[in-house]
Subunit: 275 residues, 3 copies
């Protein structure tokens, strides 16, 4: 893995255009700043193309869709493709409703994504499988385990081949892969599932890392996934020392940890295995 991925982010301060849900948008903006990037949120068709033009990357998150924002996603995606920008797709809840599934499929058809980040059930939905999404959490029967890791890596590689995007399949074990080379990442903490937006935040960080490291998308994505998981670990250690601490402190501590993240800290704490 490249040695200065994070330094590259902090030095270039990549500007990322986010069309994202209104639930976690503030966390996404703050973690983008924390990781070294700079966020712009703009979701209206009247300005989506212009705003994306002045950015280096585009982060599309389908968390709280409506007709107005879908149009903006398509316009911004098309323009970002023309400009050769990094584009990340976070297919939140794909499989949970026809609107989400169809929008995700339409985006995949009309926009070439650099990276797609989702949980197993969301990514299965993108593949065209039945996709049983329980809310925005990975379906219990569909989570990556040590036992099915090889199978999951194969699936993610196939999805990468089909879409042309680096795939980040996140869960208890994370898989980051392109068509040929895969990483399994074992950072993170189960408590991360008890705060909203860790997935959305990660997608923002992936965008920033990739914009700053355009020739190393696989490594940049893996670094972002590991950095987020490691932030969850560092935050958990800190939480355990906090009298009366709980999930909201934990959210704060995760973003704090990301704001202190460096190539050295990541190298030290990253649990990354080539598969």
């Amino acid at each position: 893995m490249e040695k200065k991925l994070i330094e590259n982010v902090r030095q270039s301060v990549p500007l990322v255009h986010n069309i994202t849900n209104y639930v976690t948008v503030n966390d996404v903006a703050n973690i983008l700043l924390a990781c070294g990037g700079s966020p712009i949120m703009a979701d209206d068709a009247e300005e989506a193309e212009e705003i994306t033009s002045i950015c280096g990357g585009l982060n599309i998150n389908i968390g709280t869709l409506n007709a107005r924002t879908i149009e903006s996603m398509l316009l911004a995606g098309k323009r970002a493709n023309e400009l050769g920008h990094i584009i990340v797709l976070d297919p939140v809840g794909a499989g949970a409703s026809r609107l989400r599934t169809e929008t995700a499929m339409q985006l995949l058809e009309k926009v070439r994504f650099s990276v797609i980040r989702g949980n197993v059930s969301e990514l299965k939905t993108l593949w065209g499988g039945s996709g049983s999404t329980k809310g925005v959490d990975a379906d219990l029967a569909d989570r990556v385990t040590e036992g099915n890791l090889d199978e999951m890596v194969e699936f993610a590689k196939k999805l990468s081949k089909k879409t042309g995007a680096v795939i980040a399949m996140t869960g208890a074990i994370d898989i980051v892969t392109d068509e040929s080379k895969a990483y399994a990442i074992r950072n993170g903490n189960p408590l991360m599932s008890k705060i909203t937006g860790t997935g959305c935040m990660l997608s923002g960080v992936v965008a920033a890392y990739c914009v700053a490291n355009p020739d190393h998308l696989l490594d940049a994505t893996a670094a972002a996934v590991a950095a987020m998981g490691l932030s969850g670990e560092i935050a958990f250690e800190r939480l355990e020392k906090t009298a009366l601490g709980g999930t909201s402190s934990y959210r704060t501590y995760i973003i704090d940890a990301m704001s202190n993240m460096s190539d050295e800290i990541l190298k030290e704490g990253m649990k990354l295995e080539a598969r």
Copy 2:
């Protein structure tokens, strides 16, 4: 009161569909996770019915209304009624504008709610009274006091009879009642009024507690109200030990306290009186 209300929440992880305002939506999602539930936010008519179908409960909050979301509220409410789901109404700011008052009345007419949670002036507006709402806070002349408690309980019981819903009237003293049985709850701290969203958060918690305890709606609602107030007390004690702490730390501490809440802690700290 049932002894394992909260344990039931933590074990069943009730999925709650929220159509809510964009001001406090992140807090609502995080406190739903903190209290043991799982949130989904979706406010477009294209998916409102489908999303609510996969959930156990629906939480409708009229904080930042527009024509698009009103339609979704009606569609989701109707579908949730068909499925026998728990539905909570938070009539934020009813009385403050014609749009809010009329939407609240329309919702009451077309949807059967399990629980309605609001402050005195909002609930008076629902009753059809003139309703003078100063923003989203209880009007000063309209707050529950020890002096008018009996009168307020009577009003809340009448509103329960009229709507068929458990009524949670929150303020310095909270009243939770159905047609016949009422509780006065004296948990909470005045500083809770200095952060936005404690009411919205509580409505989310009420939904989760009721979904997990469908045969005990009155007790589940009272437990949620007491748990929120007690979280405010625990958070306040913690805040007093925090050098330079203020209202934003207090918000964090409240959600933290809710994430640590258990039947034991609640039983110990609950100040609940049958009226």
Copy 3:
């Protein structure tokens, strides 16, 4: 400067109607409460005029515009003008897209603002200059420095004369001015640029301070700007004592500091120079 500006806020609890972006809306609501005010958010044309009528001030922020909210801004602005209310404009990202620039210009044409708060590039855009906005941050070439301070003060005074509004030009050095009298304010900390929403939050505080001190708009605006910067300083000192603290703790600490702000603390810490 008036001696009881902040006490006036805490005693009168000014109600401020905010039509603002969905990225930082929760922070704006919480800092309005923290500084002593009371927030209402409502952005639909169906209720914008009614809601603004029951408030003392209106805060318009163009951070995430769309056709629906632009109409509401114009309706609320016109109504607030009729009622003689305080109106603050935060032209977030003016210059970054045609939509934002044109909306800002249209608002300036149709609404008389009491205060306009923005960074240098946003304010240059309002003037009709070319305006190069890098996202929502002040363009590097366009920031206020000790070297160009006189020139910047002159520009801000001209913009004040043109618009009739008090101008708050914020950056490393802040300038607050009307047509004739200017202050340079040197409070703040560079880390404030690493969290989203400090500008949006400040605009909310400006609105509250001005509503509570309607005869001293220049001083009230300067006090708000200094109070925000001072909160950033107090928060930074606290952060330095926080093991593993980072940008998210910093955000919490800033709002905490604002919730503890008083005329005495401000007088002690304010770095204000008449120019």
